[in-house]
């Protein structure tokens, strides 16, 4: 991110802020959407975050940390939005009846995996979802996640560990449920 742009926006330059918003919006929206799994909630979280960036930018001492700071803001907004909304209802993705004709078995398996992941992911706590997104989507290291979330590295590590474990457990439960259903059918 352009340091000069951040400094100008912090001093109240509205053009610089508009440029920063333009440069940051896509990546922030992508993160919010992946945590929230909902377009409108993600849009709302982005809106709040962009407003907070303008309001709070003068408090950011080091312009080089702008990007990490904005990840902190969007993660915070997304977690709050997820808490407000509860954990969301189940996601149903309808597959066409002739699915097995249209796509190869491997692809079918991939779609099934994605649906399982979607269900499992939604069962996680919002903070855990945020850690998973920051690590596996944004690609931040544990130290960077700790910095972004304002937690000790150990806390970020354990949060990631439990998030992965929780997701695996959710997937395994989903597998067992599907297998039982198939046996009973």
């Amino acid at each position: 991110m352009d340091r000069e742009l951040v400094e100008r926006a912090a001093k109240g330059d509205q053009e610089a802020y508009a440029a920063l918003a333009e440069l940051s919006a896509d990546r922030l929206f992508a993160v919010a959407h992946r945590i929230l799994r909902d377009w409108h909630l993600a849009e709302d979280a982005l809106q709040r975050t962009l407003a907070t960036i303008w309001n709070e930018l003068p408090r950011l001492r080091d312009p080089d940390r702008f990007e990490a700071w904005t990840y902190r803001l969007i993660a915070r907004e997304s977690v709050s939005a997820a808490r407000r909304e509860g954990r969301g209802g189940p996601v149903v993705r309808l597959l066409p009846d002739d699915m097995d004709v249209l796509i190869a078995p491997d692809q079918y398996r991939a779609v099934a995996d994605r649906d399982q992941l979607e269900r499992g992911f939604r069962r996680l706590r919002p903070e855990q979802r945020a850690v998973l997104v920051l690590h596996f989507y944004v690609g931040l290291s544990l130290a960077e996640i700790a910095d972004v979330l304002g937690t000790p590295v150990g806390t970020a590590g354990s949060r990631l560990h439990y998030a992965i474990r929780g997701l695996r457990a959710a997937l395994e439960a989903d597998e067992r449920y599907t297998a039982t259903k198939e046996r009973l059918a």
């Binding site: 802020y17 508009a18 809106q47 003068p58 408090r59 995996d113 992941l117 998973l132």
Partner: protein, 239 residues
Amino acid sequence: MNASDDFDRLLGEWLKDGPTQAPHESIERATAHARSHPRRPDPIAFLRKGAMNSRITPAVLRPAWILVLLGLLLAAAVAAVGIGSPNDAPVVVVPSPTAEASPIAATSATTSASPAPTPTAALAIVLRRAPDNLGCDSIVIPYSSATIRIDPSAAEQVWAEIDTLHPDTAGEFPGVAVGDRLQVYWSPSFSGGDASDPTVRDSNGAVAARDGTRTGELQPPYYLCATSGEVHVLDSPPG
């Protein structure tokens, strides 16, 4: 490649699958928000805690150092007064024109040659001004109530202090606490009083706020627009 790697790869790929472009209206609304909330110079910005650097405090701003510095400044001030008073003139105590003389003031007054008129009486209260076209967005703020404070002799003469945190949102603002200061901005039609009348009045001359007025008391014809660090008191509904 083991099962853990497979899982990580699957999760990474799944997360990549999703929108990567923000709705353009969000950017338009953000720039509109900036236009309606123009930034004002913050004279004490350097004293504020950094948004990301809460663990890094310059040595000169640590509490112990501040106390030492204040002590040195006080000593220097006392020395300067001593040097600047070669005639050993008695200390002049200026009683407040409205307050009854306290025992201390009465004792000191005997040493006063000629009580001067109070210098604070002329201190006009200068208000921070809200822009005319202020828009009020629905953003999350960490408090539900604040108290207006007015002190004509203070550097910031009118401010507000958080007195109640919002139970649902305060957790999102870990640094915010009861007692934290908020800047208060007023529509141009409001005017500040002075030391003898420490109030803020509306265009009709009615008292809109005095020291201790709570934000909840500011009902129409006054309107409030709040952010995490500011309260705007308006004379008409915000856009």
